[in-house]
């Protein structure tokens, strides 16, 4: 990873204002922000790692766990919330054995919740990779993720 960072940092000066663009580059490269890379940023710009983490968590664009091959984003917007998004999330957590915001050990599935996906009429809904799944019920959970490997 150290070499990757050497490459990423080559276009930066190491100023405090470089933190966000650096984090963005890292996320593009890895799909998330590995802890080691945040430490590299901290060393490079001379800001403590807890502060770098603080900056990163301030922006919702950054992820701290890798994405699985199948990335599930369950909507928690108002419409989906009232039609039981929380139950759906719990169901998926149980079925896939993964916690919200995390990824399965085999890196197959990752799960997170998001704000309104913009198709409230189809609530509750979720985005699985690039596909919208609508009107999800607890029963659907098993069907949707049947290819689960164990």
């Amino acid at each position: 990873m150290h070499e990757d960072f050497e490459e990423i940092k080559s276009t930066y000066k190491g100023k405090k204002s470089d933190i966000i663009p650096l984090l963005q580059d890292i996320q593009i490269k890895y799909g998330y922000l590995p802890g080691e890379m945040m430490q590299e940023v901290s060393r490079f710009v001379g800001v403590s790692k807890s502060e770098v983490f603080g900056v990163a968590t301030f922006y919702s664009q950054f992820r701290f766990t890798p994405k699985g091959r199948t990335h599930v984003m369950v909507c928690k917007g108002t419409a989906c919330h009232v039609s039981g998004a929380d139950k759906i999330i719990e169901g998926i957590e149980r079925h896939l054995g993964v916690k919200e915001g995390d990824v399965t050990f085999d890196m197959e599935y990752s799960l997170e919740s998001v704000g309104c996906l913009g198709c409230c009429a189809l609530a509750p809904c979720a985005m699985v990779n690039d596909e919208i799944k609508s009107n999800i019920s607890l029963k659907d959970v098993k069907r949707l993720f049947s290819k689960r490997k164990n």
Binding site: H2, G35, M38, Q39, R43, G46, S48, K49, S50, E51, V52, F53, G54, T57, F58, F64
Partner: protein, 894 residues
Amino acid sequence: MSELEVNFTIDGLKIKAKKGETILQAALRNGIYIPHLCYHPHLKPTGSCRLCLVENEESRLITSCENQPTEGMEVSTTSPKLDNAKITVARLLVANHQTDCLTCAQDNQCKLQEISSYFGIDEKNMDNLRYSITDIPIDDSNPFLKRNLNKCVLCGICVRTCRDRLGVSAIDFGYRGYNTRISTFSDGPLLESNCVSCGECVVACPVGALVNNENQKPDREVKTTCTYCGVGCGIYLGVRGSKVISSRGDPHHPLSKGNLCVKGRYAFKFINNPDRLTTPLIKKNGDFVEASWDEALEFAAEKLSGYREGYSFAAISSARCTNEDNYLLQKFTRVMMGNNNVDNSARSCHAPSVAALAETLGSGAMSNSIDEIEDSECLFIIGTNPTQSYPVLSMRIMDALANGAKLIVVDPRDIELAEYADLHIQHNPGTDVVLIMGMIKIILEENLQDQEFIDSRCENFEQLLESLEKLDLDYVEQITGVNVDKIKEAARMYANSDAAAIFYSLGITEHSHGTDNVFALSNLALVTGNIGKPLAGINPIRGQNNVQGSCDMGCLPDVFPGYQKVEEKEVRHKFQKAWNTELSPNKGMKMPEMMESAVKGDLKAMYIMGENPVHSEPDSKNIVDALENLDFLIVQDIFLTETAMLADLVFPGASFAEKDGTFANADRRVQRVRQAIKPVGDSKPDWQIISELAQKMGASTGFNFTRGEEVAAEIATLAPIYGGMVYHCLEDESRQWPCLSDEHVGTPILHQDVFATKTGKAKFIPLHYRPPAELPDEEYPLVLTTGRIIYHYHSSTMTAADESMKKLYDLDPVEMNPSDAEKLDLVDGEQVRVISRRGEIRAPIKITERSPESLVFMAFHSPETKTNLITSSACDPVTKTPEFKYCAVRVEKI
């Protein structure tokens, strides 16, 4: 009206603010309460909680914690507009706070309680505000403190404390909006973060979000001095019954100001540890058998009477025991045993400072005071890692940086402080002499020296010039591995400051050319006139709590108490008269010489008080051989240490919490140690054991002390620099030696008018580079350097007696640069073999960029890793200080 005061009114009341004070500070000082939450007296205000708002003449609301009053200003603390603004904030805070006040450790001291009652907030009508109490799990990973963020009011005081006062930055604000909370890196448990468990944030947190795990209130408190390092912080030990249950910083202490490190604040459990020695032990047929005091003293007296002749007896005194204990052990050796064979662990640390600075300046101690640090203009830190070794001193350095001081760090390793340095010089280890002489050459070439000071107060300048002539700057660059431009920059930064202070410790002295290193620094300070004035000086930071005192007390083979030479006839006569006996005019043996002599069989009996040389000295196998070869060994300690295991007789000493006495800290400050509880079991204060032994051996006078105070009084009559170090003068304050009499206030800064050398002048020393004794080669390609880490003290017999301290840090890892680790195909944490010419040990590897390439680092605390099995016993030729800081090793994968 004085210019230093500003007159203004609060609610019509006339108030005088001191220059620089904020409205809030002036109000609080005058007994006017203005609610506040994010304000802390030692931190820069951030104005984030908005509770301290006041209204000015123009009806504008301003934060009183950030704004200073102007002459004639009128502010009010209540108005409908203000109340409106503040009450809403206060209600929201209370609504979102977990309110289990009765069982909260902060009950009665909580700032939120204070605010709530000030605004008369009523729980009942708050339901409309109750969003939902966030349910953040409590972080109780750290053995000493816990974080309950459900009580956090986000004042940021902990973040600022950790960042600005400690320089640690373990925590910061994370997330955003309603989810904002204080987070470690990656939001992991505190134990896994870089937190050093100092507990400063716990003390500073205004509410119960950060609390100590153990927070029982003691039934009484005793003011005393921390027993762990040369900073000498002031503490209050809390006692319940006969147990020490708490420790807290003394906010009025001149150096520590209430701050403490993890050891001072939390590592007191060793005092009442069940493994403490509680009765004398006599070894019979290889096993220890409990004995009565009478029996044990009788045995010792009878045995020791056989070693009064020649050089067959020697004593090692303790840098942890009090001055009184140390004084009596050297007196015992000189009076009862008839020789000067007494030494202390300063031998293996600061003996080069004592030897070199005594020759050049006339005194081997810190020339200036720790309380000056925060006002410094320029700090030159070389061969010392205050963050780990002298934590509270490093807090003063952080204060200095906040006040605008410049910082030069010279260390081959990327130590924590280097992050804050204006300049960090990473020279090749062992090349300090060349580096410093190079700086001096540059200073003289660029005419930055203080010629007037050199001419009027120094001698031997010609010789220095001569030795510099041959020094070529390219050669300096080549040997040190540092770019000359960088050395020039450092030289200029140091020399161009009105006053610049040098701080160093064992990274300078623990070399086979340690004395030369100190000479070099002394030269540097002298050419720039940085001696004998405030904010300057040359300051060897003493490691152990009373290593300074142990030397002051004459636990050295060549001097009586107060550095009076045994070879000088008049001095000897004075002591002969006072002690009523003949005294040997010959210097005694230094510690390594004692060991050699024991191996040869010449030295036959030893008395070791409060030291663990088997663990702490280099090439420890050799020490074991020496001690095993003795006919008779007495060890006096509070635990059965590795050294005590080898003894024929063990005396149980009392810990610092069980006796009255004094410690001398790094800046020559003599401070009271006070008895908090009675000695555990049958243990006794060390001075008392020695007194009783001497009396058993027939001393009719000279050892009949009944209190520590009487010993101190005798010291005051014999050691002029301790003339005023008597208990009634040390009750409320500490004093720095030389302190000549009761009336004398002591000497914060040495060498102000004359130097204490024979000629009254300071002396330059010409120097040439000598490489370290054991250079790396093909077989042993890495350099091993050693040091301390914050969590433990010395051989960790005291700190590791507490399981919690071991949880924070146990085995000593080998710190290695990533590129070296890659060559050996090592992953972080794996066990490796570290091999030197003297042996091999196993330790986990820690891959870190703190170590430069080809340099590995290990601490020497853990009895399991045993670092000193492999260190070199090559010594400085003058002082016999071992080269702990440099030996060649090889690391192997297992």
